[in-house]
C-alpha cells in the first residue's frame, strides 16, 4: 500500500504576519539590556492587550505599586497597505476557479494509486479492443503494461494577496546605555542591507528596516518630567494573505483529480438499453 506523506499547511493570515514579526523581535533579536538588577532580557509587549491582561497576566512587568519596569519594548501594528506596486514572488493576478472548490496555484501533485490501478486493471482485463482502450488486452487484471491513464491529485491554494504591514517598535529605557543596547541589534542584525526574512507557520515574509530611527528623548527639555529615553522604529513587512478563512466560501486548499478518460454517457431509458424483462442482464454503459 502506498504511503501518503502528510503535511499540515497553515493558512497565512494577518495574525500569522503579526506572529512572525513578534517572534522575529522576541526570538531572533532576543534583546537584553543592562539594568540595576543585572543583564536581563527586555520584556516585549504587544500593545493592544486588554486592561485586565495588562495588569494581571505578568506581574514581573510591574513593581509592587503597579508601575511599569523599564526597559521595555512594545510593538503595535500601525497600517496595512495593499499596494500593487509592492508585491512578492507572484506578480500576476490569476482568478480563482469559479466553483465551490476554488483554488488558483498548484501547490503539489501526487498519483492517486487506487484510481490509477482501477483504470489500468480495467484496460488490462479487456480482451477486445475498443475505442480509447489501451493495454495488452490480456483479459487479466494486474497484467503489467505501460499505463497512460494516470490519475493525479493536484493540491491548489488561493493566490497570495500581498500586503504591506507597518509595525511600530518602541524602545523605552531609563538610560541612554539601555537604548544603545536595545537599538543596536535592529541596526546590525541585517548587515549593510535593510531587509530581512521572517517566518511563521511555515510561511516566509520579508521585512524592511527604516533608514531613520527616531529618538524621542526628553533629556534636552527635562523640566519636571522623569528622564525617559524612547526610540521608535517603523518596520514594514511584506506579507501575504491566502484566503479569507471562515469568511471565505471556498476552502483554503483544494484537491482536484486529473481526467484520464472522456466518457459520453448514453441515455439508456430512451434507447431501451436497460433490459427490463431479464433480471440482472448485462447492458452497455
Amino acid at each position: 500500500m502506498a504511503i501518503k506523506e502528510t503535511k499540515e499547511i497553515m493558512p497565512s493570515t494577518l495574525e500569522t504576519i503579526d506572529r512572525a514579526f513578534y517572534d522575529w523581535v522576541n526570538k531572533t533579536l532576543d534583546i537584553s539590556a543592562t539594568t540595576n538588577r543585572g543583564w536581563n532580557k527586555v520584556p516585549l509587549i504587544w500593545v493592544s492587550a486588554e486592561r485586565s491582561f495588562q495588569i494581571k497576566e505578568d506581574k514581573n512587568l510591574r513593581d509592587e505599586f503597579g508601575v511599569l519596569k523599564l526597559p521595555l519594548i512594545t510593538i503595535s501594528r500601525n497600517s496595512i497597505v495593499k499596494d500593487p506596486a509592492k508585491k512578492g514572488a507572484v506578480q500576476a493576478n490569476v482568478f480563482r476557479q469559479n466553483d465551490p472548490k476554488g483554488g488558483t496555484i498548484s501547490f503539489s501533485r501526487r498519483i492517486n494509486q487506487s484510481k490509477t490501478a482501477d483504470f489500468a486493471n480495467a484496460d488490462a482485463n479487456k480482451t477486445t479492443p475498443n475505442f480509447g482502450v489501451q493495454g495488452p488486452l490480456a483479459g487479466q487484471v494486474n497484467f503489467p503494461f505501460n499505463n497512460k491513464k494516470v490519475v493525479y491529485e493536484t493540491l491548489t491554494i488561493p493566490l497570495p494577496t500581498y500586503v504591506n504591514v507597518t509595525y511600530s517598535v518602541t524602545l523605552r529605557g531609563e538610560y541612554f546605555q539601555q537604548i544603545n543596547e536595545m537599538l543596536t541589534p535592529f541596526i546590525v542584525k541585517t548587515g549593510q542591507i535593510n531587509g530581512f526574512t521572517l517566518t511563521a507557520d511555515g510561511h516566509k515574509f520579508e521585512g524592511f528596516l527604516p533608514q531613520d530611527f527616531a529618538q524621542n528623548n526628553n533629556v534636552a527639555n527635562l523640566g519636571d518630567d522623569e528622564r525617559v529615553f524612547e526610540t521608535k522604529i517603523d518596520i514594514r513587512i511584506l506579507g501575504y494573505l491566502m484566503g479569507a478563512l471562515k469568511n471565505d466560501e471556498q476552502p483554503k486548499m483544494t484537491v482536484r483529480e486529473s481526467a484520464v478518460e472522456v466518457r459520453i454517457p448514453r441515455e439508456h431509458v430512451i434507447f431501451g438499453d436497460i433490459p427490463t424483462t431479464i433480471s440482472g442482464a448485462f447492458y452497455r454503459e
Binding site: E50, R51, S52, F53, Q54, I55, K56
Partner: protein, 164 residues
C-alpha cells in the same frame, strides 16, 4: 548618654498626636455606616480571572472572559454621564460613565477585594469596565492609610462583557 540628660529617645515612634488607630477606626466606622446605611448604593464587582480566561497569547485579549464570583460592594457611585456621542464614521452612539468611590479599608480588610483596571462592575443592571482608578486622598496625610479608591468606569459593550 549622660545621666543628667532628662530627654530619652523612645523605643517606638509615638503615634500621631490626633489621628491614631482609634481615630482611623472611627473614620472607617463612620464611613461604613454612611455608605451602607445612608447612601445605600451597591455595585457587583466582577474580578476577571486570568488563570482561567483563555487570553490570546499574542494579542492579550479574550472574547470569552471568566471571572471570580462577583462580590457585592457598598460604594458611593457618582453618575458621570449618560448621553449620545457621535462615533466618527459610524454614527450616533451612547456613552455611560460612572465613578465608583470604594471605601478602601472596607474593601481590602473586610472583603479582601482589590480594585484593578480591566475588572468589571455592575450597577443598575449595566456592566461597566474599570478604565482607571486612583487613591486621591490619604487620611490626614498618613501615607499608609487611604480613604478611598476612586474608579472611573465606562459601560462595557455586551461583546466585551455580559456577566455570563
Amino acid at each position: 548618654m549622660s545621666s543628667n540628660n532628662k530627654w530619652n529617645q523612645p523605643d517606638q515612634p509615638p503615634p500621631p498626636l490626633f489621628i491614631g488607630k482609634k481615630e482611623r477606626d472611627l473614620i472607617k466606622q463612620v464611613n461604613d455606616e454612611l455608605i451602607e446605611r445612608v447612601v445605600g448604593q451597591q455595585v457587583l464587582y466582577y474580578p476577571v480571572d486570568v488563570a482561567t480566561t483563555d487570553f490570546h497569547d499574542l494579542y492579550g485579549e479574550a472574547i470569552e472572559k471568566t471571572f471570580l464570583p462577583p462580590v457585592r460592594v457598598y460604594a458611593l457611585v457618582e453618575w458621570e454621564a449618560y448621553g449620545t456621542e457621535y462615533s466618527e464614521n459610524i454614527g450616533v452612539d451612547k456613552r455611560i460613565e460612572i465613578t465608583v468611590h470604594f471605601h478602601k479599608r472596607r474593601l481590602s480588610e473586610d472583603q479582601d477585594l482589590y480594585v484593578r483596571a480591566g475588572d468589571f462592575v455592575s450597577y443598575g443592571g449595566i456592566y461597566y469596565e474599570i478604565v482607571n482608578w486612583a487613591e486621591p486622598r490619604k487620611i490626614y496625610g498618613q501615607v499608609n492609610h487611604s480613604v478611598e479608591v476612586s474608579a472611573k468606569c465606562v459601560r462595557a459593550r455586551p461583546g466585551v462583557f455580559d456577566g455570563n
